[in-house]
């Protein structure tokens, strides 16, 4: 049972990570810096609960704000470049953040133990959940409350004017600009919101694993972050969730019995999915199909 709860926690945290990239992708920007914001959130939240004895919720909020401010600050210079140059620039930034934490030392002595981030050895003993007696089920429930709230907020945003503006910028920047949209503000805001979500996700990640180190936040995690919304499709938030379940639940955990051969199949299946559905697993066509099915069954019921 604990295995499945653990899996549910992983899926929840990765969904947050994917949603942070989803936000940025809406404006047509591919950011590989999301793992960097995730790392910032993880370290900030961990330091607040471990070193400053904050409760978890304010610590997560502060982690989100710090990561969001960083994303905003990076957004202004980084968004001067477009397309693949932006991919590389954000990847460089993400790696720089990771290497910063590789060299980051801030330890305090508490009862004969040194606690806090310790360079290459990472940040151990982020034991907020066990210390306050949270069970695995409660932690999983907490994570999913955050995930559901985030998804609801993004769902609402998709349907509001803000979502339309984001999509307009993503589809055609020149057209959006000529209809009076301030493209820079829109892009930087999307980047900031993405940073906040990644920061909160990172904070949660630090607390359920209890031990974080720089190597976890590398380019691989960053690519996973953008792979989820791209694989899932950008038409709505559930695409990202389904892609996370597909990758984390099926490809990584479900195929674990295949041992060394798993990664070979993993690559093949993702390439297959991208070839068959280049616009994502759930695209506009799928939604129309689902709507038509629902509509038809209603029709039949009324007939």
């Amino acid at each position: 049972m604990d295995f499945y709860l653990g899996l549910i926690q992983i899926i929840g945290v990765h969904t947050l990570l994917g949603l942070s990239a989803y936000c940025v992708l809406h404006t047509g920007q591919v950011s590989l810096a999301q793992a960097g914001f995730f790392a910032v959130g993880a370290y900030v939240a961990g330091m607040l609960t471990v070193l400053a004895h904050w409760p978890i919720v304010p610590a997560l909020l502060v982690a989100g704000v710090v990561a969001g401010s960083l994303a905003c600050a990076v957004g202004f210079p980084a968004l001067r470049v477009k397309g693949l140059m932006l991919v590389v620039a954000t990847a460089a930034f993400g790696e720089a953040v990771r290497l910063f934490f590789f060299n980051f030392n801030y330890q305090l002595e508490r009862g004969g133990f040194h606690i806090g981030p310790h360079g290459g050895e990472g940040f151990r003993q982020i034991r907020y959940f066990p210390e306050y007696g949270w069970s695995t089920l409660e932690v999983a429930a907490f994570i999913w409350v955050v995930v559901v709230l985030t998804m609801a907020a993004l769902w609402w945003m998709d349907r509001s004017r803000a979502g339309a503006v984001l999509r307009a910028v993503g589809e055609d920047e020149v057209a959006a600009q000529s209809s009076g949209i301030n493209v820079t503000v829109v892009k930087v805001s999307a980047m900031t919101v993405g940073g906040v979500i990644a920061g909160i996700g990172g904070g949660i990640f630090a607390h359920y694993t209890t031990h974080i180190e720089h190597i976890q936040f590398g380019i691989v995690l960053a690519t996973f972050a953008v792979a989820y919304p791209i694989l899932g499709g950008l038409s709505n938030v559930f695409g990202t969730l389904i892609a996370v379940i597909f990758i984390q639940g099926f490809l990584i955990e479900g195929l674990r019995f295949m041992g060394d051969w798993r990664n070979l199949l993993f690559g093949g299946l993702i390439v297959l999915a991208m070839n068959v559905r280049p616009r994502g697993l759930i695209d506009a066509g799928t939604i129309t199909l689902v709507k038509r099915l629902v509509f038809r069954s209603k029709e039949r019921a009324s007939a």
């Binding site: 477009k82 060299n103 791209i230």
Partner: protein, 299 residues
């Protein structure tokens, strides 16, 4: 002062390998305008096959070079067929994600070929380094620098002077028009990909022959170093790739000397970020970033 010069010399030598890696990257990026994250891992497949025949059959250096290049080319074509050929030109990001998935696949394939963490790789040249006054020059480093300059000159010649290069530049300029005048676009792109992988294979061989060992980390290392060097030098510029590699090598050598290995990598990424933000077209690129490519230069 002596340290400064020696560090610069070492940096130029290491930078030559970055430049070579960037050269293959530039070919792919210039032609496809897409990011191939599997570039390093496909070189690694070649290197692992080369190591395999070295370890199993104690093959000579020529056989190892041939095997490395051949393996890199085969892996490169495999990547092109799966991640680039079937994707629409507009779906560049789908190609990138696919090439990332293939990266994981190739890395696992390398581990299946040779399961230990580290394997020996045949050295290129053994012998005492040359002494020029107080400075030391390793012979294998010099050979690498020479290879980098020769290969970039060769690639420059092929792209700007040969019929195949003309076809490639036509494809870069306008794929539809190139198709209409009778250029076989798909085959040319695949050949360019194979050529880029061959350049990468030679680069990989030289780097590994100097390190004398190969690990599964090599693929990621090659992708990142090649990418950084290409971006610093200027996207799509062939001399820029070599120059970017040399700049990266020199900056890394100095920061290694002053601050140690961890800060060296940090400096490399910060340099890249600053370079992209302040001068997105790189040192030698002249057009706006998104438009820069081999074909757009006057030729």
């Amino acid at each position: 002062m002596i340290d400064f010069v020696q560090n610069t010399i070492d940096g130029v030598m290491i930078g030559a390998s970055y430049g070579l890696l960037a050269l293959g990257f530039t070919l792919i990026f210039g032609v496809m305008r897409r990011l191939n994250l599997s570039y390093g891992p496909s070189i690694m497949i070649g290197a692992y096959l080369g190591t395999l025949i070295y370890v199993q059959f104690s093959a000579g250096p020529v056989a190892v070079v041939v095997m490395t290049v051949l393996g890199a080319v085969l892996a490169g074509i495999y990547v092109e067929r799966l991640c680039f050929a079937p994707m629409a030109a507009s779906a560049g990001i789908a190609s990138m994600v696919s090439s990332f998935a293939i990266w994981m696949q190739l890395e696992q394939a390398a581990i299946l070929i040779l399961p230990r963490h580290t394997y020996p790789f045949p050295p290129l040249a053994t012998g005492a380094p040359l002494e020029l006054g107080p400075f030391l020059l390793r012979i294998d480093h010099l050979m690498m620098l020479a290879c980098a300059l020769l290969l970039s000159a060769g690639v420059q010649y092929v792209i700007y002077r040969s019929r195949f290069g003309l076809a490639l530049r036509a494809i870069i300029g306008n794929p539809v028009a190139a198709h209409l005048v009778g250029i076989d676009v798909k085959t040319s792109v695949m050949l360019a990909f194979a050529g880029a992988s061959a350049v990468g294979g030679i680069a990989g061989y030289l780097v590994l022959a100097i390190d004398q060992q190969v690990t599964p980390m090599f693929g990621m290392w090659a992708t990142m170093k090649g990418l950084i060097a290409m971006m610093i030098g200027g996207l799509g510029s062939i001399p820029g790739a070599i120059l970017g590699g040399l700049v990266l090598g020199v900056v890394e050598a100095h920061s290694l000397w002053h601050f140690g290995p961890q800060v060296r990598d940090l400096v490399a990424y910060l340099l890249l970020f600053a370079c992209l933000v302040l001068r997105p077209s790189g040192i030698l690129g002249d057009a706006p970033a998104a438009e820069t490519s081999i074909g757009r230069r006057s030729a």
